[in-house]
């Protein structure tokens, strides 16, 4: 069975495969700062609020236009949400709606993890009815689009936004109101990020996509040297300030906060750390960012 339209939840998904299908409708959206009575019945408070929003809307039929949704194993919220949706469908609490699928990427630094990811790519391609020829075409098309997704050169001093990808661009706006350029992905950006270029004309397009995902630096489960990546980012952007923002439910990236602060200190880049922040409107964070950047001056 193939699906006339499908969407996704989470980062580190095979966007080249999605492009090859011609039926990808993009990531599911979320709306915060509203009552979510259905999700509150079933979902614990340590989940990111975007997960509750998606569950709430799923139950209300808001995603019924899709025939399937692919959840990322690469994100703990997304993969647990997958099991919750499956169970609530099984119990009949959620009626109908898209079929939940999971993309089981593995990023452990061993051949067995790469093999698992390869198996996941090929399995999903089969579910989506995408053969190798179409997959190769999807890689070529996505590779050609990748440069257009790259950040544009900044025309004002750059302030890095590091940590939990925020749910919207309010923090970016707070930075930019002070005359700075905000460099950092929001959550939706990470979900649609296709990652680095995928090798073309390998004769094994599924394997090529799997290799790109296995070594990706995107997401909480990447085996990447965050400190080295930050040093490279400082060099590439010439950033003069950094805001480190971590949500209350953050369980992964926050473990690198001390390391990243040391990198910034060593580089002489002033930093503002905001931890345990709630999702949704955060005027206090915007105020503190404003004060911080004013003190530095542009």
């Amino acid at each position: 069975m193939t699906f006339a339209s499908f969407a996704s939840v989470g980062p580190l998904l095979p966007h080249d495969l999605f492009a090859a299908s011609g039926r990808y409708a993009g990531s599911l959206c979320w709306t915060l700062g509203r009552p979510m009575p259905f999700a509150a019945q079933w979902m614990e408070n340590r989940f990111a609020p975007w997960a509750a929003s998606i569950l709430e809307d799923w139950a209300a039929g808001a995603f019924d236009a899709h025939e399937a949704v692919v959840f990322a194993r690469a994100d703990d919220n997304a993969q647990r949400l997958y099991y919750y949706v499956c169970e609530l469908r099984r119990r009949g609490v959620i009626a109908g709606g898209p079929e939940p699928l999971v993309f089981d990427s593995a990023q452990g630094p061993r051949a067995s993890s790469l093999a698992r990811t390869t198996q996941a790519v090929r399995g999903l391609a089969e579910r989506l009815g995408v053969d190798d020829a179409a997959l190769e075409a999807g890689i070529v098309a996505t590779n050609s689009a990748r440069p257009m997704l790259a950040a544009q050169p900044a025309t004002s001093p750059t302030c890095l936004l590091i940590g939990t990808p925020p749910p919207d661009r309010a923090l970016h706006d707070a930075i930019e109101r002070q005359g700075w350029h905000a460099d950092g992905a929001a959550l939706a950006d990470t979900w649609r990020d296709p990652g680095a270029a995928v090798d073309e004309s390998t004769g094994d397009p599924g394997g090529a996509i799997a290799r790109q995902i296995h070594t990706s630096v995107i997401g909480n489960r990447a085996f990447a040297d965050r400190a080295a990546a930050l040093r490279a980012r400082l060099t590439a952007t010439g950033a003069k300030a950094a805001v480190l923002w971590y949500s209350e439910d953050e369980e992964a990236e926050v473990w690198h906060l001390p390391d990243l602060r040391r990198v910034l200190d060593a580089a002489g880049v002033p930093a503002l750390a905001l931890t345990r922040r709630l999702w949704g409107p955060d005027p206090d964070a915007a105020d503190r960012i404003g004060t911080f950047l004013k003190e530095i001056g542009t």
């Binding site: 019945q41 079933w42 979902m43 614990e44 408070n45 340590r46 989940f47 194993r73 994100d75 703990d76 919220n77 993969q79 647990r80 997958y82 099991y83 919750y84 499956c86 169970e87 609530l88 099984r90 999971v102 089981d104 593995a106 452990g108 630094p109 061993r110 051949a111 067995s112 993890s113 093999a115 698992r116 198996q119 909480n220 489960r221 085996f223 971590y246 209350e248 439910d249 369980e251 992964a252 990236e253 926050v254 473990w255 690198h256 906060l257 001390p258 602060r261 931890t275 345990r276």
Partner: protein
Amino acid sequence: MSTETGPKETGQRSRKMLASTAAANAYQKQFGLDLKRRVVDDGEPFAIVQADTPHELFHAMDVPIITNQWWSAYISAKQLSGRYFEVMAAHGYPENACKYCSLGLACTLANDPASAPWGGLPKPAVLVARMTCDCIQHVFGQWAEALGTEFFPMEAPAWEHKDPRWFAHSRDQWQDVYDVDRIALMVAEMRDLIALLEKRTGKRFDEAKFQHLMEQINVQEGHIWQAAQAIGTARPCPVSIAEQMPNTMIPQWHRGSDWAVAHAKRFRDEVFERIDAGLGASTNEKIRLMWIGAGVWHDPGFYQALEETLGAVFVWSMYMPFAGPQYIRDLQGRPMEALASRICGMNEVLHLPPWMNGWMVSEAERCGIDAAVMLMPPDNRLSQSGNKITARSLEDAGVPVLVIDADMVDAKTWDHDTMVAMVRNFLSERGLA
């Protein structure tokens, strides 16, 4: 998962009735001394591992292991958790970072041999963890770096075959229940781990010894499962969970050893004797309670606080009945695959639907449970996960559920009297007491 029951920050001692319990605690105390001698005094190569990793490989190779959860509980029992949380904050980690996983890292970062248990841990040969939540690879990666050694991460792959009655088939149909592909992945990882251990420790993995170990574990867990089944049907409950836990967990740390097999049998026999004699954990059993969550190691007396006054007896926690469906395996000539099937769902079946709720509803029915008390740790998505669906499933099955917001290793969030009063009020409100 310590079994020490000395005075705690806010807790009370648990009351022990079984000779088996004293024997298990004595063995574990001596084991702790021996382990310290081997890894600290003699400098023998050892590993730090998560509870849901294949300990069997280490046992078969006679490589000492320190389990992170055991070490965390040991630190907690020494009343050092508060100090180590402060150390983490001083190192720049937010206070809400996962406490259950990181106490060992905190102990290492504190770098204070004078106050650390055993003077702190020496450099292990390797750290091993399954990546069941997003924090683990980061905690273990940094811990390995701080100790100057290697982290061996094991995947926790997605599980698409979702059988709510997994526990009914897991002994003999494990390749269907746990997915052939997931089992194959873990077998490949275990082969890599064995190669690493052989290189790092100079010891060899003996397939015959491993096969024997797996057979012995089946015998051991069979004894525990027999006792669990008897406890489920006996009235009154012969043994509180305060004694079920050490008599299950301590042998399980040493699973497959001659002592562990013998102790499991001794415990089972003592349970049978108490049932035959009509002896109960309480002389006044009226309400049978289920405890859902990790043990509250800093207040073991909590579980027995209402036994005599209300006749409310905690007769079920996950540790003992887990022995049957999650440990016992028909080996089918493939012990490595059988082991993989034991490990690759160990965490998932306790924290994700449909496995968690499917099993617990079945267990509540098997054990005649009147009400359940569920731990909801505030800072840990993995430990919270599946709780609300399970609570609803139990309520739908006629089992009232009280949810307690508290952390299993952080005594600061726990007050014995308050928690006991909460349970008492809940039982009263639900018409059970």
